[in-house]
Symmetry: C2
């Protein structure tokens, strides 16, 4: 239950804060409105909002779309080109001006909606660069199979930050932890690519997973030189 209550509570909190903020002084959005929309953000929860804040701070105009009407007030704070609706519908994508976008950020938390959005945009707006949030490895595999180039697993980077913090808590230096995590990341991403290539073939998938586990131990056990790391990485 809390998985669903979490974002709602956050939204209510943000909406409340926003109402209190705008009561005193409304911020002008004209500078953003005057420029053409360059980025479409589909899904404006925890993940999409961070993208929006970075873009806004850089004065890069974007349109945010979210299925949650509770997000309305909060989204409005970020610009005037805001649509409330289902970004996995072609009419919404057209209305949002996707044909003029340079980039689409698929930041919805629903896996099937994410895949539908990617499919629609690839089909109808092939010039738009797609950046996709993935729930997990399986979702990432499906996005990779669709040809999406930039796929970021939603908890992956934070879990690596945590792993780094734990290693340091146990006595590793910051530099040691950084090297280890970077090594893990390269390894994991190479493994993902290998597994994605054989994800429909159980035997090959198992072989890839076993090889990956062995490689990982080797990478961490030995004082692997950067050259070795690189060549291991190129084996994928």
């Amino acid at each position: 239950m809390s998985m669903i209550a979490g974002p709602l509570l956050q939204t209510l909190y943000d909406a409340k804060l926003h109402r209190l903020l705008v009561r005193e002084k409304e911020r002008p959005f004209d500078r953003i409105e005057a420029r053409e929309m360059r980025v479409l953000i589909a899904g404006f929860g925890r993940f999409g909002q961070i993208i929006g804040r970075v873009l806004r701070a850089r004065r890069i105009p974007f349109t945010a779309v979210d299925v949650s009407t509770a997000n309305i007030d909060f989204i409005r704070r970020f610009g005037s080109d805001v649509y409330y609706g289902d970004a996995s519908r072609l009419d919404l994508l057209r209305a949002a001006g996707t044909d003029k976008a340079a980039a689409l950020v698929v930041a919805v938390d629903d896996v099937e909606a994410s895949l539908r959005i990617v499919e629609l945009v690839q089909q109808h707006f092939p010039a738009v660069k797609i950046f996709a949030r993935a729930r997990n490895r399986q979702h990432a595999f499906r996005l990779m199979a669709m040809g999406v180039k930039t796929i970021i697993r939603e908890t992956y980077a934070s879990s690596l930050e945590m792993a780094s913090a734990v290693l340091q808590g146990l006595g590793a230096s910051e530099a040691e932890a950084r090297v280890l995590i970077e090594r893990f990341r390269k390894h994991d991403e190479a493994t993902m690519r290998r597994q994605a290539a054989v994800r429909d073939d159980d035997v090959k998938l198992i072989a890839a997973a076993r090889e990956a586990a062995l490689q990982l131990e080797h990478l961490f056990e030995s004082d692997t030189a950067p050259e070795d790391l690189q060549s291991a990485d190129q084996e994928r």
Copy 2:
């Protein structure tokens, strides 16, 4: 629905893979068993598993606890000291050997369970260093109020990676994107601390939010020197 189906599908996938793997060759875990447990990982889904993989690769012994019986097979792959149960129960924490742990990683996705675990461990095992996953800002505020030092919001780092990728997709260099994201991160973390200090006072919370929004624009608009950044950071 898919928010709940996601991890289940991942788990089933991993369990399937694991069953196929162990059928052919079981890996020996004796080296891990022979050493004392140093880390307790409460919650072994997407987030906790990454921590576990990093620790395992470093031969750091850990115990994982998860409420999901579906995770059993998968967790077993990571070591023999595995408990299936609710880590927010004191008897489970005792049975898992929390008194011998140097660190506790709270990686459960349920906010209330996370807070209960922290409370129990602070009360009964005060020597254990706590590393907590937070669902969102509100959860992070509550963990901060409890005195937890290392709190990592579960989608925050990945959303910043995505923001960096989008900036680069729009023409920023990798170095430019890195500087901007680092600036955003410092700003956001300082804002979090300020907001946490006044989270029960609406007026001060609003003032902190407004100041943060203005500061963020300033940080991004100007060619802020590192000294300026630092002093802004110290204002918190």
